[in-house]
C-alpha cells in the first residue's frame, strides 16, 4: 500500500516534470530578447578585468615565495616545537599548490603588503621582519580589531559559531573554543591574502566558476586546486591559532 502510493506519486511527479520541461522548452523557443536585454545579459557575463593581468612569471613567484615565508616565520614565532615538522611540511605543500594555481590561471604572482616587493630582501633581516610585522599587525587590525562588535559578528559568526560549537562538544573550554575559532577564521583570511593578494583571489574564484573559462580549460582541475588550497590554509590557520 505504502509502496503503491509512492509509485503513484512518482508517476504524477513525472507527468508534472515533463509538463514543466515542455513549458520551459516552449518559452525558450519563443523567447526573443530585445537588443537591450541581450546587451544587459552580455554585460553581466563580460569579463571586464580580463586584460588587467600579466602572465605568470617564475622569477616573480620565487621572490614572492621568499617574502611569504618571512610572513610565516613571523606568524609561527611562538609555535610549539612538536608541531614544527608538520607545519613545515604543510607549508611546503600549500605553496606548491599556490604555484600551481598561479600557473593554471596564468597570472603574475604578487606580494602582499603595501610598498612590499622583492627589493625589500636587499635590506637587513631585522628591517624586513619589522616591515612585515607592521603589515601583519595592520592587516589583523583591519580585519578584526578596528571593526565594531556588530560588524565582527556579521563577518565571522557564520564560520566561528559552528567551529566553536564543535570544539565545545568535544569537551573543550567554551571561552577558549570561541577565542580559538575567531583567531583561526581571521588567520585563514590573512593567509589567503598573503598567498593571493589584492584581486588575485577574486580572479582565481571567478575563473573557477566562469563558464567561458570552463569551455576551454580544465576547470575541474582548477576547482580541485582551489579546494585543496582552502583545506591547507584552514589547517595552517588552526596551527597558527594555537601559537598566536
Amino acid at each position: 500500500m505504502f509502496i503503491g502510493n509512492i509509485d503513484k506519486e512518482n508517476e504524477i511527479m513525472n507527468v508534472a516534470r515533463q509538463a514543466i520541461l515542455q513549458e520551459k522548452e516552449y518559452n525558450k523557443q519563443t523567447y526573443k530578447p530585445t537588443v537591450l536585454m541581450e546587451a544587459e545579459e552580455k554585460m553581466k557575463s563580460a569579463d571586464f578585468s580580463k586584460n588587467l593581468y600579466k602572465p605568470y612569471d617564475e622569477v616573480v613567484f620565487e621572490g614572492k615565495l621568499a617574502i611569504d615565508l618571512l610572513y610565516y616565520k613571523h606568524l609561527l614565532g611562538n609555535l610549539d616545537e612538536s608541531y614544527s615538522k608538520d607545519v613545515q611540511e604543510l607549508l611546503a605543500q600549500t605553496y606548491r599548490n599556490v604555484k600551481k594555481i598561479y600557473e593554471f590561471v596564468n597570472i603574475k604572482p604578487t606580494i602582499y603588503g603595501k610598498d612590499i616587493d622583492e627589493t625589500i630582501l636587499e635590506n637587513s633581516i631585522d628591517t624586513v621582519e619589522k616591515k612585515l610585522s607592521v603589515v601583519l599587525n595592520e592587516t589583523i587590525d583591519n580585519l578584526f580589531y578596528t571593526l565594531p562588535p556588530e560588524k565582527r559578528m556579521a563577518k565571522y559568526s557564520d564560520q566561528v559559531i559552528p567551529m566553536a560549537k564543535k570544539l565545545i562538544t568535544e569537551n573543550n573550554d567554551p571561552e577558549d573554543s570561541l577565542k580559538f575559532s575567531v583567531k583561526s577564521c581571521i588567520l585563514e583570511e590573512v593567509l589567503t591574502k598573503i598567498a593571493f593578494p589584492g584581486v588575485n583571489w577574486l580572479r582565481v574564484n571567478h575563473l573557477a566558476e566562469s563558464e567561458d573559462f570552463g569551455l576551454i580549460f580544465d576547470q575541474k582541475e582548477l576547482v580541485n586546486l582551489v579546494e585543496t588550497f582552502q583545506t591547507q590554509v584552514k589547517k595552517l590557520s588552526n596551527y597558527l591559532a594555537i601559537s598566536v
Binding site: N51, Y53, F104, V105, D212, L215, I216, F217
Partner: protein
Amino acid sequence: MSSIKKLFDSKILPQLENKKMEMKVYTEMTKIISAAYSHNVSSDESFCFKFNLPIVAVNNFYKILNLDPTEVGKAFKKDWGQVLTAMHKDSYYQILLLFIYYGITEKKEMFAKNALMILLLKIWNGRKSKFFKYCDKRIMKYVIGNMLTNRHLLSKYENPVALLRDYFTPSILKKYGPEVKKDIKKLQRLFEQTFARIFQIFAFNFRSNIRTGKKEAQGGLLPLYMKAREDGLHLSVPSTRRNAGDDTSVGYEEYSTTHNRDKIVTKTTDYIILNKSTKYPINFVSTINRKTNVSVKIIEQILDYINIQKNYDVVQNLIVLILSRCDIHTDSDICSKDFNKNIRKNIISSKNNDEINKIQRLLDFILDDFFKTKLKTRFNKYSNVHKIKIRNVIIYALEYNLFKVNCRGGN
C-alpha cells in the same frame, strides 16, 4: 659564313623545326624559370637573393639536341676571336644564345625570352657574388626601401626574378633583337650588353679613391649598401641567423641553407595539411594538457582544425617564422636535443618582437575562426594571458610535426 650560323643552320635549326623537339626544349626552359620564380618568391632575401643555377638542366639541352659542347665552343671561338673571357667560353651561355637566336629569327618571342631569362639567372648570380659575397638582407632592404628614389629601377621591382623577367628580358630583346636578326655576329653584342646592364645594377662609375688608391664604384647598389652598413642602418626583418649584420662572422655556406629551410617548410606544411586524419598520440595530447591546462577535448579539436586546407598559407607562414626565429636551417637543427628548448626560449617564452607579434597574429587568425565555427563563441572573449595558453597548443602541434616529419620521416 659565320661559324655559329653554320652550326645553327646545320645542327640546331633542323631539329627545332620539329615541333615536338621545339616544345620539349621550350617546356624544359619553362620548368627552369618556374622553379627559379617560386624559389625567389618564397624567399625574403630581397636583392641579396641568389638563384639555384640550373646547370644540369641547361647542359641537358646539349644531350636533347645531340650537340657536342666542344664543337659549339669552337664555333663561338672562331667567330668571336681568340681573346675571350671564361664567360664567353661558358657552354651554359652558348647554348642559350643559340636558343635566343632561334627565337628571334623564327619569331618565337617566348622561346627567346625564356632562353634569355635563364641566361640572366647566371649573370645575376655571378655579379651578386662578386659584389656581395656576404649580403645582409636587412641592410639590402633598407637600401631598397630608403636610399633609392621611387624612379630607380630596383624600387619598381620586388625581387630579382621580377626585375629580370619583367624588365631586362623584354628590354634587351627589344633593343638588340633586330640587329641580331640581321647578323648573328651581333649575338656577342647582345650577350655583352646583357652582362653590362646587370653589372650596372650593382656598381658603375668607378673612380680612384685618393686615400686608398683603389677604384671604387660611385653608383649602383654596392656604394649604397656599404654606406648603410657603415652607418649601421638596416630594416628589422626575420633573420636567417643570429647577430645578423655582423657580416664578417658568418660563412657564405649559411646562405645556401635558405633552400634547405624552404624544403623543411614545404615538407612539413604539406604533411600537416594533407594528413587530415592524423591522430596525435595520447601522451602528446596529455603533455599539452599539462603544459597549457587547455582541456583534452579542446586540444583535440584544435589539432584537427589546423589540418584543414584553408589553413595552408597560415601554417606555412607560421613554420617559416618559427624556423627563422629559432635560427633553424637544416633537419639536424630540428632533430637536435635542444630543439624543444629552442622553441620554448625563442617562441613560447619570447615576447614583444616583430616575429613573435607576427606569429601571434597568425595564430589568432586560426583561433578566431576555430572559436567562431567550432565553439560558436569568440576567441577575443578570453584574456590575453589565457590566449597565450591557447596559442601554445598550436605551437606545440607545429613543433611536434616539424620533429615528426623531418626526423622520423612522418612516421
